[in-house]
């Protein structure tokens, strides 16, 4: 059980985290948000790499800033970006990290390292220097090291960025099988990652947790209120932006498709369409779902 209470983290004048509070139980939790929303700050704070300015994080009842080892001993962490020691093979490096993670039994270590290398499809490259890996391979290596030991809390920060579709699929596959009894936090700005995998999610923006719910539930809140229309000119788009709650604009074959949130059709030339998680995400992120609005809905 992870309890986050009034977590604030400031860097100078910048509030990277602004009074964030939520609890997490076992399961895959997706954290969506644009760049700069504070996702990585939250992830790093959870991973004990930095301390909050105020607020607490409790893991199974223990404050992790007071006793970071409580988290570190059960943590599997894949940072957003990381480097590796030069001239070390995947085998050596995993073995090295396994020791640091406390797997002091040589046989156990060997088994895990080999299984993981197979699992992330790096077995054939196990003796090659990790520094020579391509981005996808390196990311899979990152997963492997995060799964070393017996992690109860797995934090993966933007893991699918830069992966090709096949790699991404494979990665998500591994993650989803990591175990139901574990707390897994997946931070991403790719909405599909969350939609496909997570039973629970949150949206972050400007350092705050805007909403936290199951993906379906979020979609539910705006179901039937998404309207689209194709317009030709940029002026027309601007006009809509001035009058409507625009969720997204998208260029499609020379025209611009504008999606808006509206209880009823804004006009005759607007069509309704199926609600996507993406719509819910933008609706919350853009502040259309203030408490009043949500209550009203």
């Amino acid at each position: 059980m992870l309890e986050i209470n009034n977590l604030t983290k400031t860097f100078g004048d910048l509030k990277a985290l602004d009074n964030v509070s939520f609890d997490l139980g076992p399961g895959l939790f997706g954290l969506l948000g644009p760049n700069g929303a504070g996702k990585s700050t939250l992830m790093r704070t959870l991973a004990t790499l930095q301390e909050p300015t105020s607020g607490t994080i409790k893991f199974n009842g223990t404050d992790i800033t007071e006793d970071p080892d409580v988290v570190r001993s059960v943590l599997g962490y894949l940072p957003q970006d990381f480097g590796v020691y030069p001239r070390m093979s995947a085998l050596q490096l995993l073995d090295h990290i396994a020791v640091l993670k406390g797997i002091t039994n040589k046989g156990e270590r060997k088994d895990q390292v080999e299984t993981l290398l197979n699992m992330v499809n790096l077995w054939t490259h196990r003796t090659a220097s990790v520094a020579s890996y391509s981005g996808g391979m390196r990311q899979r290596f990152g997963v492997a090291q995060a799964l070393l030991g017996d992690p109860q809390l797995i934090i993966v920060d933007e893991p699918t960025a830069g992966l090709d579709p096949l790699e991404r699929q494979r990665f998500l596959d591994i993650l989803s099988r990591a175990g139901d009894e574990k707390i897994i936090i997946l931070s991403t700005h790719i909405i599909e990652d969350v939609r496909d995998l997570c039973t629970d999610m949150g949206v972050m923006g400007e350092g705050r947790l805007i909403v936290r719910d199951a993906p379906e539930a979020l979609v539910e809140t705006i179901d039937g209120r998404v309207w689209v229309r194709s317009v030709e000119t940029d002026d027309a788009v601007d006009a809509i932006k001035a009058s409507q709650q625009v969720l997204s604009t998208r260029r499609l074959r020379g025209a611009t498709v504008v999606s808006v949130l509206s209880d009823s059709a804004p006009g005759s030339d607007w069509a309704s369409r199926d609600t996507l998680l993406e719509d819910a995400y933008f609706a919350y992120l853009n502040g259309f779902m203030t408490a009043e609005v949500r209550d009203a809905a």
Binding site: A47, F82, G83, G102, N121, A128, S129, G136
Partner: protein, 1215 residues
């Protein structure tokens, strides 16, 4: 475009902290060097040689220009390699900037940055003069030119040269480690070159070969007296100019080369990239492995990380190059170090291991600074820290693994050094391999210091915002630590991380192992405390800023670390207090405090120091040594009398041991003065008692004195002069003395001025009849003429006790071995006691008077190398000196080896002789005219003292020491020539006399007197004295000098007692014996500071014309003679002095083959001409056509520049 780039690059360098830190440090160094007296360049800079004189400025600039080697590498890396470093290469290199603009702007700015840093130091130095604390006497008027020339000659050229080398390495390798390594290589090259090019190497080679120009500068300025050092600029119209031009040219060529070799874009390293393979069937889950996070985990991570950090470092190319460099330096030094050394080192275990460790020394500093930073920052540099720091590995494990890896690395390298030394010793060595010596020196003298320095670097890096700034700072601190002793508030407790077991001797081992363990404990607990601090503030995770870490401090604090901090701090303070008290107990003072103390002392005794004291007439000593506890006790009896016309009522009493170690002191009818200010202060603060005779000691009356003194054992901060094996103490150190207060007066005129002490007390004038009552040795051990002497010396059964006098008996007392010695005739009140585990070599010299003299050499059994040679030297000496002079006066002659020191001392019939200058010395090859044999030479010198000092001794007045040392040098040269021939003697003259006189006179802080009035100047008593006798023998003749010396010996023999002779009598006798023709020459040698200047006339050739059966040779020569001022050495030609004419004896020698190898000692024809005008022509006839001509080939005349004294003659013309 180029202008914009230049501006951009400049601003970029300008914004670097490293730039400002370097500028700041260097300016400060310059400012202090140019103003403060605790930071000086060499021995120069004082009243005679001004701090802002042309020579001292140039020396300073030259030194700074060598520092460039280090910081230039950093700027080249940051300036030229930052694209790689900051991973901005792809972006920058794909812009439309022209490659050559980019490269050129960077090179120019890096060069400029480096220059500015060095220049800042010179600016600081120049400003020093104007600082309020600067001593005005040390400066002359500011002269910009004195700065400009060295700035160009050294700074500009060396900046270009050094930076160009690094630039080439940087653009070709794009590997910053290799750039740093090349810095080491450059430095190593420079020190190796200056190491091999000793002062004995050919001058042309020294001028040309040093790429940084320091050697050439040294060659050109080495004989400059103060007057020239203050105002002369180094001439460049010679090979040195060529050297500087070459260095500049090479620098520019390397820049051009780098410019052309600079490549743009990503460097193809040919590295393999892994290609992904399609996904196959794979397990979808992994079995959990439960972490085991107990103490086992702490150890496992510590072990794994230490090994990881160590092996990763060991695999780096840079370290392999550094180690190879060290090996190369070692081999070069071992094989070629003595190439130009006429007196090579004997390679024993201790010298070889020192050489090996020394070769690693520089690499060690670089390794600490560079790899220390590498290790500390490794995870961050690689980007692994986010993963590593989120694991449950304890910070302590991660941290100590890093510290441990560096320690392990340093240890490994020290071991490598030892092994390398051992291997070399087995292959090349001619001495016995003593492995324990290797271990002792390698670990205790070297590894320990590296260890502490390395840990300090790790500590510093933990607090640095970046690794480069950390490197600069830790490098600066390591260098700064070497100068910590110069701080005005210095105390040895501040001398970070230097546990020292004291000096090492192959005979006696380390001089104080106790202090090693105390200092180790002290510094280790300090480092342990630093380690705890580092854990608390370890950079973990992403909150790397120091402030953030300080804020989290309370969370990092644990019971264990808290306890460790307290424990280490308590240990540190305890060790410190114990040490501090020990220093306090023996009245330790740093050099500033000591100066102030001596100044107070001198002011205190200014009215009483020259009181007459009783005379010691007989001495009887019971000495008891305990080498195990390193203690000794002396029970002594003196008989004293009053030879004056007035009664003596008061006398000052002291001992080299301090008052605390005088266990008993009874003087008949005398009592300690107490309750008087002076007496109480002297006793309390200066270890001097004042005694009052009651009734006074009347003229002619004699009384008895009984006393006991002792040597206490070593303490944690100071050794004992009594060693486990190999002790040598003399009476001035061990026993009681009267008077002698002037021994505590300071001589350095700068220091005296600082404390307002006025002119120092000079030795009495030779005409001072009162002074003639005393002889030279009065200045060592108080007033006496000669004494009756007997001694009983006891030591442990395994050792042999030795003292002067005839051996009477050996006996056993309380299980100790004791020997009794008794002088057969009165000796000086100057004697010694020795004990060691000796091997004895015996010989006999057949005295022509029929009374055989026993010759004995007592030596450390491992040091047998030169014993035979020394025995032969003793015999030759006795033969020579009895033949030339008077009979030998003692029944025996003993030489005893003793540890540590580098000198020998002649007591009556006994000579303590240190291992370093005789027993462990390579005697060279007797047949090679390029080597000299100091083992034999020093033996002969000490035997010579049996005549000069022990048969005739000078009055304690100016010139007194000349009568013992110069006459001894003369006798020694005769004996050496008899033993080894004229060629060897000629070489010895060059090595021992000429160069030493000419160089050492230039660095005297005081005036240079004429030889006849010399006081304690080594360069006069030994070097010039030796030169003058050599010259007189050559230009007058041997027989005359022998006759005069023998006359002096007989007429002023010590048996006659006071009044003692002075150089006035010696010079008179020399003049009488030589005749009026030589009076000018003798005066030039003895009563003036004379420099001759010989050469060939510029506008005339040496003409060789066939004549009869041979050739007539016409030699046009030019001769000048200059008299130098005593104050600053300014020279004036006799042509400008009214009433002085040239009337010089000059030898002209002809050779039919190149005379270089033996310095012209075997001419085919040699003639002495008497020159009476500056330009003269001389005609000679030779049957064989000469190929070379040399003026004054034996260097009889004192001449600074002899390069123009020799000429290769043209061969017969083709027609």
């Amino acid at each position: 475009m180029l202008r914009d780039l230049l501006k951009f690059e400049f601003l970029l360098q300008f914004r670097q902290i490293g730039f400002w830190v370097t500028i700041g440090i260097l300016t400060l160094v310059g400012l202090l060097a140019g103003s403060a007296d605790f930071l000086t360049v060499g021995v120069e800079g004082g009243e005679r040689i001004k701090v802002n004189g042309s020579y001292v400025i140039a020396s300073f600039v030259g030194t700074i220009s060598v520092l460039i080697i280090f910081f230039a590498a950093v700027f080249v890396v940051t300036g030229l390699m930052r694209d790689d470093l900051h991973k901005s290469l792809e972006i920058i290199h794909s812009t439309p900037v022209k490659t050559h603009d980019m490269v050129l702007s960077r090179m120019v700015i890096v060069c400029l940055t480096v220059f500015l840093c060095a220049f800042a130091s010179v600016v600081g130095y120049a400003l020093g003069q104007f600082m309020p604390w600067a001593d005005a006497e040390k400066f002359q008027a500011f002269n910009l030119v004195y700065y400009l020339q060295p700035i160009f000659v050294f700074l500009v050229i060396n900046t270009i040269l050094v930076t160009s080398i690094y630039t080439l390495v940087a653009v070709t390798t794009r590997n910053r480690a290799i750039v740093y390594v090349s810095a080491v290589a450059v430095f190593v090259a420079s020190i190796t070159i200056s190491g091999i090019l000793t002062s004995q190497a050919p001058e042309w080679l020294r001028m040309v070969a040093d790429p940084f120009g320091s050697e050439g500068f040294a060659v050109l300025t080495e004989f400059w007296p103060p007057a020239e050092r203050n105002t002369r600029l180094v001439p460049l119209d010679n090979l040195y100019g060529v050297n500087r031009a070459l260095a500049l040219a090479v620098g520019l060529i390397l820049f051009a080369l780098s410019f052309n070799l600079s490549k743009r874009g990503i460097l193809s390293r040919g590295g393999r990239r892994s290609v992904d393979t399609p996904a196959g069937p794979a397990p979808k889950q992994v079995a959990a492995a439960t972490p085991n996070l107990g103490f086992g985990h702490v150890l496992a991570t510590l072990g794994r990380r230490t090994w990881f950090e160590f092996t990763t470092t060991m695999r780096s190319v840079a370290i392999i190059i550094l180690v190879s460099l060290a090996v190369v330096i070692f081999v070069i030094n071992l094989i070629y170090g003595d190439t130009f050394n006429p007196d090579p080192t004997l390679q024993t275990s201790s010298t070889i291991v020192r050489l090996a460790m020394g070769s690693f020394g520089l690499s060690m500093i670089i390794i600490m600074v560079f790899f220390g930073s590498d290790i500390v920052w490794r995870d961050r540099t690689a980007g692994m820290h986010k993963i590593i720091d989120a694991t449950p590995a304890k910070s302590a494990s991660l941290l100590f693994a890093k510290w441990g890896a560096l320690a392990l690395l340093l240890f490994f390298l020290v071991c490598m050094g030892m092994v390398m030394g051992l291997i070399a010793h087995f292959i090349f060595g001619e001495t016995d391999v003593v492995p324990r010596t290797y271990l002792a020196i390698g670990i205790m003298n070297f590894f320990m210091i590296y260890f502490f320095q390395g840990m300090l670097v790790m500590f510093i890096q933990n607090f640095m915002p970046g690794r480069v700034i950390g490197m600069i700072l830790s490098g600066g601190i390591l260098v700064g630590l070497a100068f910590i002793g110069n701080l005005p508030f210095y105390h040895p407790l501040m001398n970070f991380g230097t546990p020292s077991p004291g000096a090492f001797s192959e005979m006696a081992g380390f001089s104080n192992v106790k202090s090693f363990f105390w200092e180790f404990g002290y510094w280790f607990s300090f480092v342990a405390f630093l380690a705890v601090l580092s854990i608390w503030l370890w950079r973990r995770g992403l909150q790397a800023g120091l402030l953030d870490r300080l804020r989290s401090f309370s969370k990092r604090f644990t019971l264990v670390t808290g306890a460790a901090a307290v424990a280490s701090l308590v240990a540190f303070v305890s060790f410190g207090v114990v040490g501090y008290n020990d220093y306090a107990a023996r009245d330790y003072r740093n050099s500033d405090a000591q100066e102030a103390y001596l100044a107070d002392y001198e002011k205190l005794v200014t009215d009483v120091w020259d009181r007459p004291t009783p005379r010691i007439t007989s001495v009887s000593i019971d000495a008891d040594f305990d080498p195990y506890t390193r203690t000794a006790q002396f029970d002594g009896r003196y008989r004293i009398d009053n030879p004056y016309d007035a009664p003596i009522s008061r006398v000052f009493v002291s001992s080299g041991r301090g008052l605390d170690n005088i266990l008993k002191f009874d003087m008949d009818g005398a009592a300690k003065v107490e309750g008087e200010d002076l007496a109480d202060t002297l006793a309390a603060e200066h270890d001097i008692w004042e005694y009052e005779f009651s009734p006074p000691l009347l003229p002619g009356e004699s009384r008895e004195v009984q006393f006991t003194t002792r040597y206490a054992g070593p303490t944690i901060t100071s050794g004992s002069a009594i060693n486990n094996n190999g002790t040598f103490v003399n009476n001035a150190q061990a026993l009681i003395r009267f008077g002698g207060l002037e021994n505590g007066f300071m001589n350095n005129p700068d220091t005296r001025r600082k404390y307002g002490l006025g002119e120092r007390v000079r030795w009495p004038d030779r005409e001072d009849d009162a002074a003639r009552r005393y002889h030279l040795l009065t200045s060592f051990s108080g007033y006496s003429d000669s004494v009756d002497f007997d001694a009983r010396v006891c030591t442990v059964a395994s050792q042999i006790p030795v003292a002067p006098g005839k051996f009477v008996r050996e006996y056993e007392e309380d299980g100790k071995r004791c020997r009794e010695y008794r002088a057969i005739n009165p000796i000086h009140n100057f004697f010694s006691f020795l004990t060691a585990d000796y091997e004895l070599r015996e010989g006999v010299w057949n005295n022509p008077n029929g009374e055989d003299v026993k010759l004995e050499i007592y030596f450390h059994p491992e040091h047998y190398y030169n014993v035979d040679a020394m025995m032969d030297a003793m015999k030759v000496s006795f033969d020579t000196f009895t033949d030339l002079f008077t009979p030998y006066q003692y029944a025996q002659m003993r030489i005893m080896e003793f540890p540590y020191g580098s000198f020998a001392q002649a007591f009556a019939g006994t000579v303590p002789f240190s291992e370093n200058i005789g027993f462990v010395r390579d005697p060279g090859n007797a047949d090679d005219p390029k080597t000299v044999d100091f083992a034999s030479y020093v033996t002969m010198h000490e035997i010579g003292h049996m005549w000069f000092a022990h048969q005739v001794v000078g009055a304690f007045a100016k010139g007194s020491n000349v009568l013992s040392e110069s006459l001894t040098e003369y006798a020694t040269m005769v004996a050496y020539e008899r033993a080894f021939g004229l060629e060897a003697a000629r070489r010895m003259h060059e090595v021992r006399a000429t160069r030493r006189y000419l160089t050492d006179r230039t660095t005297d802080r005081d005036d240079e007197p004429v030889l006849a009035k010399a006081e304690n100047q080594f360069y006069l008593n030994y070097s010039k004295g030796s030169w003058v006798f050599w010259g007189m023998r050559g230009l007058i003749d041997d027989a005359t000098i022998e006759r005069a010396t023998k006359r002096f010996l007989v007429e002023h023999h010590i048996d006659k007692g006071a009044p003692y002779p002075t150089t006035l009598e010696l010079v008179d006798i020399l003049k009488e014996e030589a005749g009026p023709a030589y009076h000018t020459l003798i005066d030039d040698y003895w009563n003036r500071i004379t420099f001759w200047e010989l050469g060939f006339q510029d506008d005339k050739e040496v003409v060789i014309a066939p004549e009869g059966d041979g050739y007539s040779i016409t030699v046009p020569i030019t001769v000048d003679k200059k008299y130098a001022s005593e104050e600053d050495g300014k020279e004036t030609s006799v042509s400008e002095i009214e009433g002085s004419d040239l009337q010089e004896f000059v030898q002209i020698a002809f050779y039919t083959e190149d005379p270089e190898d033996n310095l012209g000692a075997t001419p085919d024809m040699i003639e002495t001409v008497e020159v009476k005008a500056s330009d003269t022509e001389w005609e000679f006839f030779m049957e064989e056509r000469p190929t070379h001509v040399i003026l004054d080939p034996f260097r009889y005349l004192i001449e600074r520049n002899t390069k123009d004294n020799s000429k290769e003659l043209d061969g017969p013309s083709e027609s």
